[in-house]
């Protein structure tokens, strides 16, 4: 056992002696016997550090990791991107990693300033005015987005595009059981959201850009629709695509939400990621912005300093009247994202998005040569694309796995209307050679 408890027996005795106690058990004398655990915990014996490492090596070996043991063409909300060593090294500095929420600003200027920079970069990315210091993930960001819209509009109905990630839609429904919001789903027509004619007093429209099927939705049109219905437009925006595409803010979104994993985080089996959240600088910032917010101010000597601000919105002050319950967020993941965005800069982020798009385009050229394989939707896409395949997607994916590829995500469960379809993704990590090999394997996998 590694034993991170420093106390020696002699020291324990000394402390007990000071307290007038004889043994450790007496610390719990005031706890009713009836509820005390009479036995020890039924857990395996402790292990030494190297034994623990071996055990986890064992877990790791029972995985076929997409990033190392396979060539990954899967995305759908979790992406393999090139993660610079400098970003990893800096974000794992122990001062960031082992500190708490910066309640004492004098001791936390590092975290606070890094978050301030993160917020600033998110504003640049989204084309909006105020970004918070992170939420849990894309799903929770979307939930908070519709909740904010409901609070700001006083309405109880939200219209959600079916182009939103299926898991995000699931979470919206789960959370809505508590919030009582009514959710209408707007279907996709050839990959593009077909907003219902009657929007029924919506608090907001929620659209993804690009959407889950990779499609470039018409955000401006959604914004117009929202505005004309007195609703907000909440856009679930892919931050990588933002490097090349118009910002959702510039197209009229009031709130941008999304998943920040591509910046600073590995696929990590789904977490920890970071929920992106930015809004227009409207009156509702001060009352309804969820989560932490870092502001610039000065210290007693008028030096520039940073501090958590507008905390009167938050649960620890407003308690049951708070608009959100979020407390611990994803700070160090947000910091990693900020470092990664700074590493990229305006040209790097554009190049990254462009390389993804080029690879996807090349893959489409290859895959559409295969008999029975075609884009499942006709609308323009960026670097993710749904393909119709001539046999069960799971069989195709299994066969691809045998050839060393994670071929994508089967869509028949979430989008039965597309028939046998697979969502594939190409990032800047994929070479032409890999794409060629994948296309060849794909052809084989599709053959009877």
């Amino acid at each position: 056992m590694p034993d991170y408890v420093p106390h020696t027996d002699a020291e324990i005795d000394a402390m007990l002696g000071f307290l007038g106690l004889d043994h450790l058990g007496q610390l719990y004398d005031h706890i009713p016997h009836a509820v005390r655990l009479a036995r020890g915990l039924d857990l395996p014996e402790g292990l030494s550090e190297s034994e623990v490492i071996s055990a986890f090596d064992g877990f790791a070996q029972r995985n076929r990791a997409a990033a190392t043991d396979l060539v990954c063409f899967a995305g759908g909300g979790a992406y393999e991107h090139e993660l610079p060593s400098a970003v990893k090294a800096m974000a794992s500095r122990s001062e960031f990693l082992t500190s708490y929420t910066p309640y004492q600003p004098e001791l936390a200027q590092g975290v606070l300033q890094a978050l301030f920079e993160y917020q600033s970069m998110l504003c640049a990315l989204s084309g909006l005015d105020v970004a918070n210091a992170s939420l849990y993930d894309g799903a929770s960001a979307a939930v908070e987005g519709v909740n904010l819209a409901a609070a700001a509009t006083g309405r109880r109905h939200v219209v959600v595009s079916r182009g939103i990630h299926p898991h995000v839609r699931a979470a919206l429904h789960t959370y809505a059981a508590g919030s009582g919001l009514a959710i209408t789903e707007a279907p996709l027509a050839d990959g593009v959201t077909a907003w219902p004619a009657d929007l029924a007093e919506p608090a907001c429209l929620l659209v993804a850009y690009p959407n889950y099927l990779g499609v470039l939705e018409d955000v401006s049109e959604a914004a117009r629709l929202a505005e004309s219905n007195g609703a907000l437009l909440v856009a679930y925006a892919d931050p990588v695509a933002s490097g090349l595409l118009r910002s959702v803010g510039s197209m009229g979104a009031d709130v941008a939400v999304g998943e920040g994993q591509p910046f600073g985080s590995a696929m990590s089996f789904g977490g920890p990621y970071v929920g992106l959240f930015a809004v227009k600088d409207a009156a509702y910032v001060r009352r309804w912005l969820p989560g932490r917010l870092v502001g610039e101010t000065v210290d007693a000597d008028e030096r520039r300093a940073y501090v958590l601000t507008l905390s009167t919105r938050e649960q620890h002050i407003r308690r049951e009247k708070a608009s959100s319950n979020v407390c611990t967020n994803q700070t160090v993941i947000a910091i990693a994202a900020a470092f990664h965005m700074a590493w990229l800069g305006p040209r790097g982020i554009r190049e990254m998005a462009l390389q993804c798009a080029r690879g996807a385009r090349y893959l489409r050229d290859c895959l559409t040569m295969i008999a029975g394989v075609e884009p499942a939707v006709g609308a323009p896409t960026l670097y993710e694309q749904a393909y119709r395949v001539p046999r069960s997607p799971l069989v195709v994916l299994d066969r691809l796995a045998d050839e060393g590829f994670l071929g994508g995500i089967a869509l028949d469960g979430d989008y039965p209307e597309l028939g046998n379809a697979i969502l594939t993704t190409v990032t800047e990590t994929r070479t032409r050679q890999e794409i060629d090999a994948f296309a060849a394997a794909f052809e084989k996998a599709c053959s009877p």
């Binding site: 655990l37 401006s220 101010t297």
Partner: protein
């Protein structure tokens, strides 16, 4: 020979912002930017280099570049390193921040969280490719159930508050399945702020239960509040005063009598590991903060992980997917319970945090975890007794892993507030205790030494607390002007809220 203006940027490259060399402000990364500079490089993919216009319809193409900073990797690393030197952390010293359980985060767990075979998995890989992850999650779930005395658990919630909401939605689903979702959830006045906020988000009215003179739930008052519209009661035990609810059995019985569910805010399990279990006390739902009890690093505010464990009867409502072991096929499989409330996370929760926590649990094992509880309680109890006299304890039951002191008398006598004492404490070389929480204690200082601080450190903290209390009487200015040793002196919070500046702008 005049200096080109582009080269003028006096802050550049200077480390005077690192406290080692001085106390100047660190420029923002935007102020280190120079047009055209870069850190990035990408693989040469060999793919044809289509122009953006060939790939993206014109109406979608960005009109201008994203206004991110342009810096060299060297300047980015220097900036980040200097920022890190402007931040305190557990790794630098004691951090007795009550309710936050700032224990040592073993480096072993960092090593686990960096394993390519774990970190490189896509969350949507088919079961056959992720048996290691499923085994890990299954093992962690079982361990958490054993620690809490529960039957089943979800690992999805990303933090404590998300766990709370999960619990409340489970409560709602349960009652719904019984015919009536009910309308109210009770919470003690000492509860953490996330509790009432979660209650609201769960669609319930939060009704406050007063504490009695001992700082414990007022059982009589509770009984008065109970009726068949009460969905449940959220309790923290030991409560946020660090005190054990001695009448927990009676509380549970009373609640169950009206069909309510008992919720355990297990953010901090440190004091009860191997001592008592929520399940054995009659709780129905428990959330745990792995980023407290199970030593995963707080990351300056996150990520955490807030798994929720429940009794048998609530298991069918858990969010999915969960992991089960298919004994026949000798494989692990995902499954979603029949009446699942749905999803609390985009994927499967903060997986790498879960891996860290499980490595911590495997390291300690059963007896080790009990040793954690013993040392955590011993440290807190010792510290409390050492500072008795200088601070008051309005609620003075034997404390568990933490205690709440009141500086109300000091404030009355010297004008020095809890806030001032906290700032002054910084100069003693420690992170301050939690201030002004729980709300039912005046000028509260909530102190949680944790078990990884040595007895000598605890004694040093005691001496510092005694010293600053004494000094408040003789030299109150020392506290009100504190801290003076840090990179910034006392920060003007009011100004930040008034003149809201929450992003960098070139114009400012």
């Amino acid at each position: 020979m005049t200096v080109p203006p582009a080269l003028q940027s006096p802050g550049a490259g200077r480390a005077a912002s690192a406290p080692l060399l001085g106390h100047e402000a660190e420029p923002t990364i935007f102020e280190l930017s120079a047009p055209g500079r870069r850190a990035w490089s990408f693989r040469n993919t060999g793919v044809h280099e289509w122009a953006a216009e060939e790939l993206v319809p014109a109406e979608h193409l960005a009109l201008e570049p994203v206004a991110l900073p342009e810096v060299s990797e060297r300047d980015l690393v220097a900036h980040a390193s200097r920022l890190s030197h402007r931040n305190y952390s557990v790794d630098l010293g004691a951090y007795p921040l009550g309710s936050c359980t700032m224990k040592y985060n073993p480096k072993m767990c960092d090593a686990v969280a960096a394993m390519p075979g774990l970190v490189g998995c896509h969350p949507a890989q088919p079961e056959s490719q992720i048996q290691g992850w499923l085994a890990l999650m299954h093992g962690l779930t079982e361990a958490l159930c054993e620690v809490t005395g529960m039957a089943a658990a979800t690992l999805q919630p990303a933090a404590g508050a998300a766990g709370e909401l999960t619990g409340l939605l489970l409560m709602r689903a349960w009652h719904q399945s019984q015919g009536n979702p009910r309308t109210k959830v009770l919470i003690p006045d000492s509860a953490h702020g996330t509790n009432p906020a979660s209650v609201t988000l769960g669609g319930y009215e939060a009704v406050t239960v007063p504490s009695n003179a001992q700082g414990l739930v007022d059982l009589a008052a509770l009984r008065d509040l109970l009726d068949d519209e009460v969905a449940g009661l959220m309790l923290t035990n030991p409560n946020t005063l660090g005190l054990f609810e001695r009448e927990i059995t009676e509380i549970a019985a009373a609640l169950h009598e009206v069909g309510g569910l008992l919720y355990y805010d297990g953010a901090n399990l440190n004091a009860i590991l191997g001592v008592v279990r929520p399940g054995d006390m009659g709780f129905d739902i428990v959330h745990m903060n792995l980023h407290k009890t199970f030593a995963t690093p707080h990351g300056g505010g996150g990520p955490g992980a807030g798994p929720v464990a429940v009794t048998e009867r609530l298991a069918p409502f858990l969010p999915g997917p969960l992991v089960r072991h298919d004994d026949e096929a000798e494989t692990y499989r995902w499954f979603t319970p029949a009446q699942s409330i749905g999803r609390m996370h985009l994927w499967h929760g903060n997986a790498m945090v879960l891996a860290r926590a499980y490595s911590y649990i495997l390291g300690y094992g059963g007896p080790g975890l009990r040793r954690v509880a013993d040392a955590a309680v011993l440290n807190a109890r010792y510290l409390k007794e050492r500072v008795r006299g200088s601070y008051d304890f309005p609620f003075d039951d034997p404390c568990m892993h933490e205690f709440v002191a009141s500086a109300a008398r000091i404030r009355r006598e010297t004008g020095v507030k809890a806030l001032d004492l906290a700032k002054r404490f910084i100069e003693e070389g420690f992170h301050p205790p939690t201030m002004y929480f729980p709300l039912i204690v005046d000028e509260a200082l909530m102190v949680e030494p944790t078990e990884t601080e040595s007895p000598q450190t605890v004694e040093a903290i005691a001496q510092a607390l005694l010293r600053i209390a004494e000094e408040a009487a003789t030299d109150p200015e020392a506290a009100t002007a504190a801290p003076r040793t840090t990179v910034v002196s006392r920060v003007d919070e009011a100004r930040a809220a008034r003149d809201l500046k929450v992003r960098w702008r070139a114009e400012d």
